[in-house]
Symmetry: C2
Subunit: 408 residues, 2 copies
C-alpha cells in the first residue's frame, strides 16, 4: 500500500498519559490509539499485525483439532449465578437492559460454552472435543497501566477441551503445550513454560512467560527450561536448579503471554455436562482451558523487539514484509520497484510521500519497524538498483530494481 494514502501518521511524542513502552511505540507509530485506560483502537497497521497473530494462532489450534466457534459477549446472569461467579468475580462487568434484566459482559466463556456443549455431548463417542474462538473479552481491571498488556476490552483466543476422564485431559494438555510452543516461537517470543498455581480450579497450571522488565509477573528460572512463577516457587534467586542440578536459578520480571490450565469438572458439575460410558453409566466431563491474548502478545512482541529508534517486528507478524522508500530524484524508479515488489507477491508499504524529507522517511521506517527497508535514491536509481537493509542491522546490499520481486 502507498504510505501517502495511509490515513495514520507517526508522532514524535507519545500520548502524555502513556507509561508503557509498548503503547508509547505503538501509538507513536500509528498502530494503536488509546481510547481510555485498558481500551485501545487498532489502526490499519495494527489490524494487519493482529490479523497475522490471529492467523498463526488459528493454524496451530486447527492443527491440534480445535474447532472454531464465535460466542457472544452478552451473557445471561443465570449462568453466572449457577457457577457462583456472578458474586465472586470482581472484574465482571454487569449491565441491565431496558426491561431491567441483568447480563454479564463475558470476561471468559465457560458459562456459555459448557451449556452449549450439553446439546452435543451425550456419549463417550462424542469425546474428546476441543473448541476455540478469537473473540473480545471484557474485564473491569483496576490496574490497566501497561498499555496493551492488560486490557479492559481485549481480543483473546480461548480454547476449551472436553474429555472422558482426567487422564485423557492430561494427555491433551501435553499436546497443547506443543501447540503453545509453536505459537510463541512463530510469534518471535521466547516464552518459558512456567509452573503456576491452579487457582481455585486445579492443583496446577502452566503459564507462558516472556522475560522483560515490563512484566508484571516474576519468575524463577534456569536456562535448562525450569521455570516457576514466584507465587509458588520454593527456591530463590541464586539457588542451584532443582531440575538440571547444574544451573543457577535466576529471578526475572516477565509477561504472561498465555496460560493453560485443567478445569477438572468444575464447570461440568455446575451445568451437569455428563456423558454415558460404554456400559451406559454417567460421568462428568473433564475440561481443560487454554488462553492467549492477541493484544497482549502484540504488546509483548514490541517490549522485546524494539530499539531506541522504534519497533523491530519479527517477519511473521510484521504489518508488511518490505518498506520501500523513494527519495527525491528517484520517483520514477520508486514506482518501478513498487510494481516489481507487488508483482513478486511481496507485501510492501511504499513511502511515496512527496511532502516528507528523506530524514523523516528514514525515521518513520525505523519507528514502524518493517523487517526489510528497500531504498531508491537518485544515486542507486542511476545504477538501476535499490539498497536493501534489514531493520535493526547496519549492513546493506544492492539489488537490481528489475529483480527486486524475488526479494524474499
Amino acid at each position: 500500500m502507498r504510505q501517502s494514502a495511509l490515513f495514520t501518521k507517526t508522532r514524535k511524542e507519545a500520548p502524555a498519559n502513556e507509561e508503557s513502552t509498548n503503547a508509547k511505540l505503538l501509538c507513536r507509530a500509528g498502530f494503536a490509539q488509546k481510547e481510555m485506560a485498558g481500551v485501545y483502537s487498532f489502526l490499519p497497521l495494527g489490524v494487519r499485525v493482529l490479523n497475522k497473530i490471529g492467523s498463526i494462532i488459528r493454524e496451530e489450534m486447527e492443527a491440534v483439532g480445535g474447532q472454531e466457534v464465535l460466542l457472544p459477549a452478552l451473557q445471561a446472569k443465570e449462568n453466572w449465578v449457577k457457577t457462583g461467579r456472578w458474586e465472586s468475580m470482581d472484574d465482571l462487568y454487569k449491565l441491565k437492559d431496558r426491561g431491567n434484566r441483568e447480563f454479564a459482559l463475558g470476561p471468559t466463556h465457560e458459562e456459555i460454552l459448557v451449556p452449549l456443549m450439553k446439546q452435543f455431548v451425550a456419549s463417550y463417542k462424542d469425546l474428546p472435543v476441543a473448541v476455540y474462538q478469537l473473540q473480545n473479552k471484557f474485564r473491569d481491571e483496576l490496574r490497566a497501566k501497561s498499555g496493551l498488556l492488560r486490557g479492559r476490552e481485549f481480543l483473546m483466543k480461548d480454547m476449551y477441551s472436553f474429555h472422558a476422564d482426567e487422564e485423557d485431559m492430561k494427555n491433551y494438555y501435553e499436546v497443547m503445550k506443543g501447540a503453545y510452543r509453536n505459537v510463541f516461537s512463530r510469534l518471535g517470543l521466547r516464552a518459558r513454560e512456567t509452573e503456576a498455581s491452579g487457582g481455585t480450579f486445579s492443583d496446577f497450571s502452566h503459564e507462558y512467560q516472556v522475560l522483560t522488565e515490563a512484566g508484571e509477573d516474576t519468575i524463577l528460572y534456569c536456562e535448562c527450561g525450569f521455570s516457576q512463577n514466584m507465587e509458588i516457587a520454593t527456591g530463590k534467586h541464586g539457588d542451584k536448579c532443582p531440575r538440571c542440578k547444574k544451573g543457577t536459578l535466576l529471578e526475572g520480571k516477565s509477561i504472561e503471554v498465555g496460560n493453560i490450565f485443567p478445569l477438572k469438572d468444575r464447570f461440568s458439575q455446575a451445568f451437569g455436562l455428563s456423558y454415558s460410558d460404554e456400559k451406559g453409566k454417567a460421568h462428568l466431563v473433564h475440561m481443560g482451558c487454554y488462553g492467549i491474548g492477541l493484544g497482549r502478545a502484540m504488546g509483548t512482541i514490541v517490549e522485546v523487539h524494539h530499539d531506541e529508534k522504534g519497533i523491530v517486528w519479527p517477519a511473521s507478524v510484521a504489518p508488511f514484509q518490505a518498506h520501500l522508500l523513494s527519495l527525491p530524484g528517484a520517483e520514477k524508479e520508486g514506482e518501478k520497484a513498487y510494481a516489481a515488489l507487488l508483482g513478486g507477491g511481496v507485501e510492501v508499504l511504499f513511502d511515496d510521500r512527496q511532502d516528507a524529507t528523506p530524514g523523516e522517511k528514514f525515521a518513520d521506517a525505523d519507528l514502524l519497524g518493517i523487517p526489510l527497508r528497500v531504498l531508491v535514491s537518485e544515486k542507486t536509481a542511476k545504477a538501476k538498483k535499490v539498497e536493501v537493509k534489514a531493520r535493526g542491522e547496519e549492513s546493506s546490499k544492492l539489488m537490481e530494481i528489475d529483480k527486486i520481486g524475488t526479494l524474499l
Copy 2:
C-alpha cells in the same frame, strides 16, 4: 473436514422458542445456537460462512480504498453526551465500572471514530479518507424475534468516509453504491437499492432491500430498478412506475441487508473535526456512513435460499464447496475420493460416519445445503466412480474417483 469429528449434530426439531425460518434452519443444521433473544453463538459451520461473508465484504471495501481498523465496544460516556445520543438513543446499552464510571456499549462508532480522526485530519491534503471495520455491535432491541435478522449483539461491517465538501461525499457515495451492488451480488442476494428517509441526519439515504415474506420492511418497487421504502413512498401498489413510466409498482415485504447514508457534518460539528483548505481557511469535514450486518446477511441468504429439505447455500458463502458421502460398502473408495478432493484443493466435508444410515446422511446433506454432493455407494465404487449432484437440482452425473479433484 471429517463429519465424524465435527462436534455439532443436526436436529430434527428446531428450538421450541424459535419462530424465524433462518434461525430454525441454522439451528437445526448446527450453524448457530440461540443463547437468548437476539443473541446467537456461531458454531464451526456457521463461523465458516461468517468468515466467507466477511472476506467478500473486506475485498470490496479495500477495492474502494477502505482502510481497516478495529474500534472498541466500551466507549466513554462523555463522547455520547457530546453528540446528545446518551439520552436520545433508546437502544443504547449503558454500564458502570467498579469506580462508578459510566460507559456505552457501542451500537455504532461515530462517537469513537470522529474524535480519533481529529488526530490525523488537519489539512485538505488528508482528505478524502474511508475507514471500516468488522466488529461487534450491541443494541438493546425490544423486538428481537427474527432470528439472525435483528440482533442485540451482532457482527457488522461499518464504514465511514470523510470529505472536504458535500460534492466529494456525494461522488464517493456513488462509488459505494457500486461496492454494495458487488457485495450483495457476490453473496447471492438480489438487493434492491431503495430510497429511504435520511432520519435525523440527512435528506435521504439508501437501503439495500431483499424481497422476502420474512422481511420487517415494506418496499414499493418496479422491475426497472425503482424502489422506495414505504415509509417515504408517495405512490402505491398498482400505480404506474414514476421512473420507467411503463412498469407497475408492486408492494413487497423485504429485509434491509445494508444501508448507506450521508452524515453531512452532524458528527464533525459535535467533535470539531475540521480541516484547513488551500488558503488556510477552516471547514467542517463532511461524512458518509455505510453498514452491512454479517449475521443479518447470513440469515437473509437462508431466507431466500432454502427449500423444504434445508438450506441451499450459494457457492460463494457455503461452509464447504463439496459434501462427500460414503455409504456402506464404499468406505475405502470414500477415503480415496476424500484424498483426491483435498489434493485438488476442494473444501470438502466428508460424511465418514459409521453410525449414520444412508437416509440420515442424505437428509443431513440436504439440511446443511453444501452446493455439491459427491456420493460413493457400493455400486458407484465398483465402477470406480462417484455420483455428483448439485444441491437443489435433480440431475446428477458420474465422475471417476481419480479425477474428482478437478470437480470445480
